[in-house]
Amino acid sequence: MSLTPKDKATVKLFWGRMSGKAELIGADALSRMLAVYPQTKTYFSHWKSLSPGSPDVKKHGKTIMMGIGDAVTKMDDLERGLLTLSELHAFKLRVDPTNFKLLSLNILVVMAIMFPDDFTPMAHLAVDKFLCALALALSEKYR
């Protein structure tokens, strides 16, 4: 399921259109994930509030999107590019990797809302493949 040149070009194109609203998109995707999959809230018990507009959610949504944006620039070697982040998730955060899928789905939902006509099935395929590859690279150091 490796990324074709066309997949990479599609992802870069969408990212270009999204990067200016990274904080909004990240916060929206994160809020949706926390609401639809309440089990994901267990990783954020240290936050004051998990509601959609809360500062913690906004800040973390932005952090996540910055990370994804960085991954977009390292698409040709995600494993090497995300080494530090993988170590962080493996040894410190220890997020169960199944959760990456849950956030990915919500990123796709936000993209569908933002780009109802442009987020075609082929675009969806490219972005989904990228997010899967990203999740795989992120869980590389787990064991």
Partner: protein, 147 residues
């Protein structure tokens, strides 16, 4: 038994009452076959599925998408007993169609993305929670009779 709040019932009913079954059914099934190509294994008798373009133009797929969405009507009309409402359909998918139940989740996710695109900002967090809860109950019921 699944508990539904009045708000959840209202949200689900509202989505279905504004639904273009043909448009959303076709788009969702096509998206599933394109994004998750291994799902094409169940559509051997449905004609040309060669690439995204042919899938999107395939009338048999379009008709089947509509059929699937109308199948959800049954869950809508029997929200308090989706499990038993779908017992027969579950057996059909298990014993006759031999569909891996994980595919129900894949189609559900595609349906969510298509509905999100259609509704835009009206697909709020609250709406999404109710919608995905409904779909997860349907998916669970469809997988329940596998043996």
């Amino acid at each position: 038994m699944v508990e539904w709040t009045d708000s959840e019932r209202a949200i689900i009913n509202s989505i279905f009452s504004n639904l273009d079954y043909e448009e959303i059914g076709r788009k969702s099934l096509c998206r599933c076959l394109i994004v998750y190509p291994w799902t094409q294994r169940y559509f051997g008798g449905f004609g040309n599925l060669y690439n995204a373009e042919t899938i999107l133009c395939n009338p048999l797929i379009a008709a089947h998408g509509t059929k699937i969405l109308h199948g959800l009507d049954r869950a809508l009309k029997n929200m308090d007993d989706i499990k038993n409402t779908y017992a027969e359909l579950s057996l059909l998918h298990s014993d006759k169609l031999h569909v891996d139940p994980d595919n129900f989740r894949l189609l559900a996710d595609c349906l969510t993305v298509v509905i999100a695109a259609k509704m835009g900002p009206a697909f709020t967090v609250e709406t999404q929670v109710a919608w995905q809860k409904f779909l997860s109950v349907v998916v669970s019921a469809l997988g329940r009779q596998y043996h």
